[in-house]
Symmetry: C2
Subunit: 418 residues, 2 copies
């Protein structure tokens, strides 16, 4: 029994979400898909309202001296808004995980056993500036039969308020229960309430930087799915092809530096003769290198690396470089400093590939491929709500099945245990 | 980076367990099975040593005035010890989940994607008196490639020390890495250390009563799988057959009262004419009933039920009884008071069965079958480490696959994102 007086900021929407979740869990796929299409259409019809709210957020952020890159992440325009609406429409084509029979059998005593996917219930999301997450999360929750409690950043609160008004009204008109999608107060205390809302919230998914994840993990009394911290490595083995190594390393580092699946540290076997060429390719691409003695000896202009470089998720055009004696030393480095997100190997030796794959404990191991491929869209999941770096429940990109639990349904004819 | 100085009681065994886990994760099934057989044989060969340690624990518990039922749970004899050894041998026949490909595909760009089961790593278990859990947990962890940190109760510490010495030495001799199975200090503070050992422990599984589970959930900074609190209901619908209802209710309540899948509350539709007969069958079997006004009016000798009765997991020959107006009221009662473990319906109406199944959010729904069937052995999983009542990761009986995580292995030929 939960006393909502303990939750002044989130108690009321959380109770409504619980009621909504009871209905959502039994809605047929067609009803959820119709709601998603209505929500997408409404974003088009009421674009002016959303963009006006966003312009106010952007103006306030600019006036407050927010860095340009962060203001850009906050900004919506017609094209971006159409993009998020299309993402909602794309969810319609994805299979509904609810009702899937994961496992089934008839037991020797005649009982039938089915393990059936059911929604989690009420999903809390805590995330940072980008307002597209509001729409993505709401859509994924609707499709998977969950109610969504959304806690976006204060800087995007006006935009998020407009988005949730549009999505909620359109969804409700199309048949979703009231309270299915709620935006929580931007008051700092609402996060703390959400994190201890046992009995009100079934899971909280933080999506943001290391400090947010750390806060959530420390404070949470509710189940959490950690996402998004990626201190990713590329290991170039002695058997690697020079051109392939250069392509994979450059893509892993520079394709999009601000995301969790970009590479932060390069580990190179000491027998790799093309080390100078590889490092020069990185500096030519504008990457600042932070290296150990061997890396600094290979090319000029490499800054000295400290333990802090091995630990840092730069999310910028910086990369740490270490020359290792062998594959075991590379594995030891990854064990010590990695965050269990994505680890890549470039190698031609089947043995090296097998040893690397067996030795790395991470959400994804990429063999002769860029770390940037660890992504729900790239994996063919159609959509993702984040990339989990924890081992329980879900590891790697979180798609629709990862937003469900299961129930065992056991059917007998008066069966009793003897 | 973990500073083991913060973990004076568990730091050393936890570090050894982490080292062991690196080896365990790559051990072939045959090696793990050989170790399990050696461990089972050693329990037979060194039975005298284990039983002597157990006799000392039993004598100390008896001298301390421990209730007879608890002393009995603590006691081992040759037959019980042979039983737990056989349980280890039975694990050999079960499929090894490690290496299973859960999902696999070739992506449009030619990348191959495989989601492969891997061990969790280091599994912490916190449990109460029964020493058989020590052997079961060690065996399940070995088979699933995990290192085990076992924290049993102080009253069984002598027995557990002997068991872990036997299992560890036999396992190591058969090829398991040192430190694979460790018993933690029985000092109360070792639980607190285990619960905040982020970076040392991958999951903690508490197995015990509500107060243990509550402590774990409140204190834990590491991922937890909650197990074992079962406030289970049987709902008898208006369409139920009288004899079937009587059999299922009696078995759910009285087959074994001290376990989490026994029933605690009976909900009966007001149109059930055989209510007096059903309640009389329960009292005849020795069950003390705690009922609402309608139940008390049906037969003599029913004590008045309060909210506390609806909330209580008696684990005894007591049962709460409520007469409900309809199935919705039964569902509402279960939502309010249930613990999400096992909920049974006895009904002949397909509609009532479907509505109950859709309306209950629990680990297991039992249709015309006893709640006692929610059990890894009964489900054909061969072994279980507990019954999860949480929605994330695993819900219901925890078998070998539930002691694993997954890694996505993505293999390309120099693939980069464009």
């Amino acid at each position: 029994m939960v006393d909502t007086a303990d939750f002044p900021l989130i108690g009321a929407p959380a109770l409504r979400a619980r009621e909504a979740a009871r209905v959502l869990r039994t809605l047929p796929t067609a009803a959820k898909d119709a709601a998603l299409l209505a929500m997408a259409d409404a974003l088009g019809e009421r674009a002016a309202e959303v963009l006006a709210a966003n312009a106010a957020d952007v103006a306030a952020a600019t006036a407050a001296g927010t860095p340009a890159a962060m203001v850009d992440r906050l900004r919506l325009d017609e094209a971006r808004l159409a993009g998020v609406a299309d993402a909602l429409r794309a969810l319609v084509a994805l299979p509904d995980p609810v009702g899937d029979v994961v496992r089934g059998s008839t037991l020797p005593n005649g009982l039938t056993l089915r393990q059936v996917r059911v929604p989690l219930g009420v999903v809390g999301m805590v995330y940072e500036a980008r307002p597209n997450v509001t729409v993505d999360a709401a859509g994924l929750c609707v499709k998977s039969g969950n109610a969504a409690l959304l806690r976006g950043s204060a800087s995007a609160h006006g935009t998020n308020t407009a988005l949730v008004a549009v999505l909620g009204e359109a969804g409700e008109k199309a048949g979703l229960p009231a309270g299915s999608i709620a935006l929580l107060s931007a008051d700092r205390a609402s996060v703390a309430e959400l994190l201890r809302a046992r009995g009100l919230v079934d899971v909280v998914i933080p999506r943001g930087g290391a400090s947010l994840i750390q806060r959530v993990v420390t404070e949470a009394r509710v189940p959490v799915i950690e996402t998004g911290v990626g201190n990713c490595h590329v290991y170039v083995d002695a058997s690697a092809d020079a051109a392939m190594a250069e392509a994979v390393v450059l893509n892993s580092k520079t394709h999009r530096v601000s995301v969790c699946n970009s590479a932060e540290t390069l580990l190179v076997h000491r027998d790799v003769a093309f080390l100078p060429r590889l490092l020069t390719a990185l500096t030519d691409a504008g990457v600042t290198l932070h290296g150990d003695a061997a890396a600094r000896a290979a090319v000029p202009g490499v800054l000295p690396a400290t333990d802090e470089d091995w630990a840092t998720e730069y999310l910028a055009m910086d990369m740490a470089v270490r020359v290792v004696d062998d594959l075991d030393q590379a594995l030891e480095h990854i064990r010590t400093w990695g965050s269990g997100h994505s680890e890549a190997v470039v190698a031609d030796s089947a043995r090296a590939i097998a040893d690397f794959t067996a030795g790395v404990d991470a959400a994804a191991v990429l063999v002769n491929a860029s770390t940037r491929f660890t992504d729900g869209g790239e994996f063919g999941f159609g959509a993702e709500i984040g990339i989990s770096t924890q081992k329980l429940h879900a590891r790697g990109p979180l798609g629709l099945p990862e937003l469900t639990s299961t129930t065992y349904v056991v059917t007998g004819a008066g069966h009793v245990r003897s």
